[in-house]
Symmetry: C2
Subunit: 159 residues, 2 copies
Amino acid sequence: MPTHFTGSRVEIRTLNTFIKLTRCTNSLLVRLAERNTIGDLTYSQFAVLEALYHLGPMTAGEVSQKILKSGSNLTTVIDNLERDGLVRRERDVNDRRVIHLHLTGAGSSKLEEVFPGHVSALVEEFSVLSASEQEMLGALCKKLGIGIARDSSKTNVKG
Amino acid sequence: MPTHFTGSRVEIRTLNTFIKLTRCTNSLLVRLAERNTIGDLTYSQFAVLEALYHLGPMTAGEVSQKILKSGSNLTTVIDNLERDGLVRRERDVNDRRVIHLHLTGAGSSKLEEVFPGHVSALVEEFSVLSASEQEMLGALCKKLGIGIARDSSKTNVKG
DNA sequence: CACTACTATTTCGATGTCGAATTATTTGAC
DNA sequence: GTCAAATAATTCGACATCGAAATAGTAGTG
């Protein structure tokens, strides 16, 4: 389903690549969701647990950068994780503005329960690509993901 | 920032490719948002206007499939677009269950106002990749996006 | 010490998102 | 024609998401 926009050759090519990239990512995430690989967790909740599990306790700000979500959003996600007993908030003793996030035992178990299945599902989904195709895809995404250098006074990326 | 998960070589490769793909898409969308390429529209609103503009009037269900969003979600988006006078709902005369969506004059103007800038921004962002790299990326995404054949009784994709 | 600037997080309001249930309507079986 | 099943869209409740404003706390200047 290519674009119906009539523009220059470069514009058409770019739009088609963009559409394929976003549709690919989207449909991959939908397929993973359909497989129920992360149990009753939402994807944001899973991302937070995964970060804390594999990287250790972190401040709210660090997690926010890690999972590329805004701070205000993270508050909600953590609220729900804490309500469900999967994560614990802890004030920093030296700097009381800072909140450290820790996995609880239940949080750890939860991640261990769902992570292997999630990885298997990913491996299965990506098996349509050969090893070298996957590496090619990764390299292209990395290049595109970093982006072009632009006036840094305009780009207030939080990271 | 590769995964910190310790698994088989295949698992690590897959996870890293997955992370690069999702981060690439995400950060590209964030950069586009920062450039404000679609004015005061949300991305969903933009997608609906773009579909109606380039493909013509469609039923709510068709738009829903086109932009890969659930019907319940589309109702909200259309509500807001209609409130802002960019889109018009019209009951089908033969089948009164069906709603046809039309761009209003304002909706058409709105899209014409933002679309060229959006395309330029995309072209600029994708300029880190050569033409053949873009085509390679598109091809890999297409392959991965379609996915592997699975038991169709389990996959009730609405499309 | 007082004042200001900065930083980390939360609150708030608007929008988007989904799945499940609901409403309105059409279609098919009898 | 009547009733059941299917279909199109909406409503509802829960969660996610963002930006802007508020809150709480730290740090630097004088």
